[in-house]
Chain length 199, copies 2
């Protein structure tokens, strides 16, 4: 396996780190941790605001192919779902069955490209009913990843109980935290991230 | 004009911030500066390693369209050229005429989408002949941008004289600096960046 490690972070506004005045989000903080351990991965952030799993399904593979040529060790972190479970005219923007189908398709696509995958569950926002729908999706995402032998890190329950996340989400736009919230998210992910990269 | 400002940084490995253990590169540092001024732009980093202007021409518009919907204030920063002027089997990977044509096409494409553009010139590496070819391209890029009324910031001469950049490039892989080098690059760009965003 090549030592030239390149990781694409694919997902939504939380992946993009929207609201973080330090311009790192949780992805940047994971990259910094890997650098400190001497890994120096190339990190590509492919998070896009407002995108559902269906939006992401339509672009992720082309974008990752440009960034993960055959000769490198290409990996993909997926994280989405909050926009799927958001209501629009009284209905979820993407139904849970479709979200699950999109995740399955992405896992199959990444497997076909020989890209190792890590999946990060959708975080909570400042809306209990929205979070309850997200928790339902989180549970299904976890099951699918287990079936595929892909590591899945649930975030919605732990971040909902974390004042560093929730206080900043409430103080912000109701969905995105500032730096401390993203740092808490990264902290939660660190053990699985390190294990996934083997450091 | 919408206050929802979103900036795509389109280019090569220097845009991606390869080698920066702080995972910011010059783009992240510019985003941090705008946040500190209260602008809170959404910054999308679309730098890809090894890509020439021809590679970038083939993907930038689709990637930006996913990130800059009509209703936001979408902007694009372009920066490329070092991979164009790199020799492969004794010839530049992309000839200067083609590089210039690619830039013209991107400026026209961005104009058609109503995306305001800033162009950042290619930086120097640890290879005087390569830098001399890059300086030639830099001069032509500057002229084209002037013709189009687009701000252009040349970097190759100033960074070649900046030990913060050159020492780290030499200590690294011969092309990419670490944090201090990217900080020096960002510092050089700050006045034009602030003027471009009006803060």
């Amino acid at each position: 396996m090549s030592n030239d490690l390149r990781v694409c972070f694919v997902g939504d506004s939380f992946v993009a780190g929207v609201g973080d005045p330090e311009a790192l989000g949780w992805c940047g903080r994971l990259a910094v941790d890997a650098h400190a351990a001497g890994l120096a991965p190339t990190a590509y952030n492919l998070g896009v605001r407002r995108q559902t799993s269906t939006d992401i399904a339509g672009r992720w593979q082309a974008e990752c192919r440009h960034r993960l040529p055959r000769e490198v060790q290409g990996r993909v972190v997926f994280s989405f779902g909050v926009n799927d479970t958001m209501l629009l005219d009284g209905r979820a923007r993407v139904g849970a069955g479709t979200s699950v189908g999109n995740l399955r398709e992405m896992l199959a696509g990444a497997h076909a490209e020989s890209w190792q995958v890590l999946v990060v569950g959708p975080p909570p926002v400042d809306d209990a009913e929205h979070n309850s729908r997200t928790a339902g999706l989180d549970e299904r995402f976890g099951r699918i990843c287990a079936e595929h032998g892909v590591p899945y890190i649930s975030s919605c329950h732990r971040l909902a109980a974390d004042p560093a996340w929730m206080d900043q989400v409430r103080a912000g736009d109701g969905a995105h935290p500032a730096a401390a919230g993203y740092a808490a998210f990264a902290e939660l992910l660190l053990p699985a991230w390190r294990e996934w990269l083997g450091y």
